[in-house]
């Protein structure tokens, strides 16, 4: 404000004043409007506003920090996730918030870069004083933040990081999705109970942790339930020709083929298998969940099954309300990531309500004793290893559409 002296207004300058400098009509340096002076005045106004801004008293709000990859290579996932989380918190606030206060979701972007999530976690803990952290999306980013949250004794809940190591960091780290071995168990149980198939083969992508993690538990659980694993075939991400594996697979005449892999390879496997005349149904995991599976495999994908976190055509009223609200807000149908983050944020808000306090330690205790939280991805309970135990949706592909088959309780 200092640079705005009173004689700078044009009216005063034009009128000669009876001062001791009166014989000068104007000061040369105060003469007229100059760009420099305009900018200087603007700058001082800017800083003045800024100071008002920082001096403003804080409104009593409960802060939850949410971190995801909103920009960078993983941004499609990150944007979906934050949309889900925002919607959940807006709904909670519309109903009056929790403990008589509204929740402020502090959203930060890690730009899909290494090291950023750690910085954001430090910001959440030291600047924003959040009561809990929601995130991150990937396991590796979550691993940066988890030790910091554990040290600060602030609960961290990741809705999507599936690596086992994450929740092993400490007793303040939670997960609201299921882990890879759990997917394997559901696939095995579905094959036995629904398809009545007791002779199976497994195709494993040896380059993906996800595939290895799922198939290890899948094989042992399938045998335990009375199934027989005829053979395990392996391939690597990026392969395009699976004829060698599929020909010998065909000669074994399996009743079911498990393909716990990502959609790129799964689609090619389906196509080549049907061309070779393999008739057995194929069962995959949530790695299959992509529109490009159906567009690449086309008709050959018909009659295959895969497990997923969530299905938009689940008749459950809770899911249908969510899908409708999401469509009106964002214009697209929600994907599994939005649903998972919607549930994660809702679960945190619910834990604060149940804790009856905004103390992080009490929220932790409330999270650890979560029983049957009604989420759109199913009723969530938290087990003693702080992982979620929740139902899995099994879907099938019929007429080029994904249809829900059943909801498998844990």
């Amino acid at each position: 404000m200092t640079s705005l002296s009173p004689c700078e207004t044009s009216k005063e300058i034009r009128e000669p004043r009876p001062t001791k400098y009166g014989r000068f009509r104007r000061w040369p340096h105060q003469s007229t409007f100059t760009l420099r002076r305009f900018l200087r005045a603007g700058l001082s106004l800017f800083t003045f506003h800024l100071s008002l801004l920082f001096a403003a008293p804080a409104v009593a709000q409960i802060k939850i920090g949410a971190v995801s990859c909103i920009s960078g290579p993983l941004s499609t996932f990150g944007v979906s996730s934050i949309r889900g989380a925002r919607m959940a918190i807006e709904e909670v606030n519309a109903k009056g918030g929790v403990l008589g206060q509204s929740i402020d979701l502090v959203v930060d972007d890690n730009g899909s870069k290494a090291g950023e999530t750690a910085r954001i976690a430090r910001k959440f803990l030291s600047q924003d004083h959040v009561v809990a952290i929601l995130g991150d999306l990937t396991s590796s980013a979550t691993m940066e933040a988890a030790p910091l949250a554990q040290e600060a004794h602030v609960p961290l809940l990741t809705p999507t990081a599936t690596a086992i190591a994450v929740t092993k960091v400490g007793d303040y780290i939670f997960r609201s999705c299921f882990t890879d071995p759990f997917t394997g168990r559901i696939m095995a149980r579905f094959a036995i109970e629904h398809l009545h198939a007791r002779r199976g083969v497994i195709l494993i992508d040896v380059k993906q942790d996800y595939s290895i993690g799922v198939s290890a538990e899948l094989g042992s659980f399938y045998r335990q339930e009375g199934g027989q694993v005829l053979q395990e075939f392996s391939f690597s991400s990026g392969d395009t020709d699976f004829r060698a594996q599929l020909s010998s697979l065909k000669s074994l005449q399996p009743e079911v083929v498990f393909v716990p892999a990502y959609y790129t390879e799964a689609a090619l496997i389906l196509r080549e298998a049907r061309q070779l005349g393999v008739k057995a149904p194929f069962v995959g995991g949530e790695g299959w969940d992509s529109p490009s599976l159906i567009s690449v495999a086309g008709k050959t994908a018909e009659g295959s099954y895969y497990t997923n976190h969530f299905s938009p055509d689940d008749p459950e009223p809770l899911v249908q309300t969510f899908v409708r609200a999401y469509k009106t807000k964002y214009g697209t149908a929600p994907d599994a990531l939005s649903a998972l983050w919607y549930d994660g944020a809702g679960l945190l808000a619910d834990a604060i309500r149940r804790a009856g306090s905004t103390e992080p330690a009490k929220i932790r205790d409330a999270l650890a004793t979560t029983k049957n939280f009604p989420g759109v991805t199913g009723n969530i309970s938290v087990d003693e290893r702080r992982n979620a135990s929740k139902p899995v949706v099994v879907v099938t592909i019929a007429n080029g559409q994904v249809k829900m088959v059943e909801r498998v309780e844990p």
Partner: protein, 372 residues
């Protein structure tokens, strides 16, 4: 040389100041600002070392993240797998040092407390990481530095990708799962200490009689060769020194973040460092340091702006005075990397010669300084 001393003096002052701030300031309420400062330190090391290759020697390298990855993973696995036994053997409660000092109780204070052991572990790991990265620099440099310009850029880019893919396939280093580094030893002191060393070495090299060779290689390679300068040797030296400091930066990062993933050292990381060098002015150490600091702070400032009500309020005020409808600026701020890129373009358009330009002597030619 006097400029080098001034900069060194400033960094020593920093060093001294932060040595006073105590052992682990990372749990305090200033943790976020310490985080930014540490990242500035790491980025200064990366940018200054790349400046030796890209700026002073005029070789366009795009593989700096690769060298950083070598240093980070080497130092990380050193601390995780190799050193705990060694440190315990030397300085543990039943270690050699305790045993040696046992008969002399008055010397007990000199036995390593944990804090000292942590610092020692960091130095050793960082030197190990730096040396391995330097070796990688030598291995890549000798065959590839016979190439020039675009070809060299492609070779170094390929090297960075090879390193990343190699790590993805080595189970010992955690492959795609990533690697945890439990000892988070990095502190302000050593980050800025290594930054000071990097600046001193680079400036010392370039400003020495011997180091004038780097500048001649940049200014005119054919003339340099005609004058009897072994250009390949100079290029390899620049490459190896650059790689060494990239490795130390990697080690500091590994012991700070506590978690390494191959995706953290991809092509974009290399480009980030190259941008710092170009913005700072190729061959201006002062400018590059400033650019490294600026480009680390800028995204955080934009992050802070995105969280305040200032921008929507300002937008409302502007739209109140001038009857126009601006697009939602807050939305733009949430995608702050768009704004960041925009600011980069503006900076490059207004200061194509670097932040300091001629002032810092980035355009100083050997010929002009020799004729004085």
């Amino acid at each position: 040389m006097s400029r080098a001393r001034t900069i060194l003096g400033i960094f020593l002052l920093f060093l001294f100041l932060f040595a006073l701030t105590g052992e682990r300031p990372f749990a305090s309420h200033l943790a976020y600002y310490y985080d930014i400062l540490i990242n500035i330190g790491i980025n200064v090391i990366l940018a200054v070392s790349l400046n030796l290759v890209n700026g002073y020697t005029g070789q366009f390298s795009l593989g700096h993240a690769g060298f950083m990855a070598v240093g980070a993973y080497a130092a990380g696995s050193w601390s995780e797998h190799l050193s705990p036994g060694l440190v315990n053997f030397l300085a543990g409660s039943n270690g050699v040092l305790t045993f040696v000092l046992q008969p002399f109780p008055f010397l007990q204070p000199f036995a390593f407390p944990t804090a000292v052991a942590d610092n020692l572990a960091l130095i050793v790991a960082t030197m190990f990481g730096g040396l391995l990265a330097a070796l990688a620099g030598l291995a890549v440099g000798i065959p590839s530095l016979r190439l020039r310009g675009d070809y060299l850029a492609i070779v170094t880019l390929g090297f960075g990708e090879i390193i990343r893919t190699l790590i993805l396939n080595i189970d010992f280093l955690g492959a795609a799962r990533g690697m945890s580094v439990t000892g988070r030893y990095t502190n302000m002191f050593w980050t800025f200490g290594f930054a000071a060393v990097a600046i001193y070495v680079v400036l010392g090299l370039v400003n020495s009689t011997y180091g004038r060779g780097f500048l001649t290689v940049r200014d005119d390679e054919v003339a340099a060769e005609a004058m009897g300068i072994n250009t390949t040797k100079y290029k390899v030296i620049a490459f190896v020194v650059g790689a060494f400091f990239a490795g130390t930066a990697g080690s500091l990062f590994a012991h700070y973040a506590g978690f390494l993933t191959p995706e953290g050292f991809n092509f974009f990381k290399s480009v980030d460092v190259v941008v710092m060098v170009i913005l700072g002015g190729m061959g201006s150490t002062t400018g590059v340091i400033l650019a490294a600091a600026l480009l680390t702070i800028l995204p955080e400032v934009l992050r802070a702006l995105a969280h305040t009500d200032f921008v929507p309020a300002a937008q409302k005020a502007i739209e109140g005075v001038i009857p126009i409808h601006l697009p939602p600026l807050q939305g733009l701020l949430e995608n702050r990397l768009i704004l960041y890129s925009l600011l980069l373009i503006i900076m490059m358009l207004t200061r194509p010669q670097g932040l300091f330009g001629d002032l810092a002597g980035s355009r100083k030619r050997v010929t002009s300084s020799a004729s004085k």
